[in-house]
């Protein structure tokens, strides 16, 4: 296992989408574009691939946009269980990049799904993080990493200090 796959939010950037190298479309064309059944089905699968799914630019280790980076950080702070998390890099697939916007009726990336339900983009994550709604949501969804001191909210507990797999 490489160092990168053991980081806080592992790089499970799965690729159910066949590469679409010959179909790079100009960004303005997606408004008029029809979300094909195959794209919709592929996104259905992606959304259902884990309890927590983030569509982002870049990977958890190397986010390629500040908004995606901030979202990954929030998921880490919240203590989302890496086993229950999958990230999809929209930059690897133009069909996904445009399709997910239409699928979610949401114009920007990142986009967070919890138990197949759309939660929101970066702004919403940030406000839900500071209001406490996000930890409530994750708690209810049962997606937080198990910890020895489940009541402890300290980010620097002994257990975490010892855990060399966490990089943040």
């Amino acid at each position: 296992m490489s160092l990168f796959t053991r980081s806080l939010l592992r790089a499970t950037t799965r690729q159910p989408f066949t590469p679409t190298t010959t179909r790079i479309l100009p960004p303005t064309s997606f408004l008029a574009r029809y979300l094909s059944d195959s794209t919709r089905a592929a996104i259905d699968n992606a959304v259902a691939s884990s309890p927590v799914v983030l569509f982002m630019k870049g990977t958890p280790e190397f986010p390629q946009c500040g908004f995606s980076r901030a979202s990954i950080q929030v998921l880490g702070l919240q203590g989302v269980d890496p086993q229950k998390f999958t990230a999809f890099n929209v930059l690897e697939d133009d069909e996904l990049r445009q399709g997910i916007k239409e699928y979610s009726s949401w114009p920007t990336i990142p986009q967070l799904y919890v138990n197949k339900e759309f939660v929101g983009g970066c702004d919403i994550l940030m406000s839900m993080h500071s209001s406490g709604e996000l930890s409530e949501l994750f708690e209810k969804a049962g997606v937080l990493a198990p910890s020895e001191e489940s009541e402890s909210t300290s980010s620097t507990s002994e257990a975490e200090k010892k855990d060399s797999t966490k990089t943040e």
Partner: protein
């Protein structure tokens, strides 16, 4: 992405004011002039009784064409009551 989207903070602000009946709008262009990165704060009574997701959806739908042309769009949405509370909090030095 286009080098210059042609979208300006003023255009966005006007659209938000007229279509969302916003009582307060602030749109900041963080793109350094290329017209692609915007941050908005919007206060409107149309947000009453809506969740953050529903509020943002309303804004995104209203500005669908404009957002499609820019690179990054961020918005904070408040009802007039939420906005008053926020201002009080800030004034109180909290």
């Amino acid at each position: 992405m286009a080098e210059n989207s042609g979208i300006t903070a003023e255009i966005l602000e006007q659209t938000i004011r007229s279509k969302l009946e916003a009582t307060y709008v602030s749109v900041v262009d963080n793109s350094g002039g290329c017209g692609q990165i915007f941050e908005a704060v919007i206060v409107s009574s149309q947000f009453e009784g809506k969740t953050s997701l529903a509020k943002s959806r309303l804004v995104n739908t209203t500005l669908k064409e404009e957002i499609a042309q820019i690179h990054a769009w961020s918005n904070k949405t408040y009802t007039p009551a939420q906005w008053e509370k926020l201002k009080e909090k800030e004034a109180g030095g909290a």
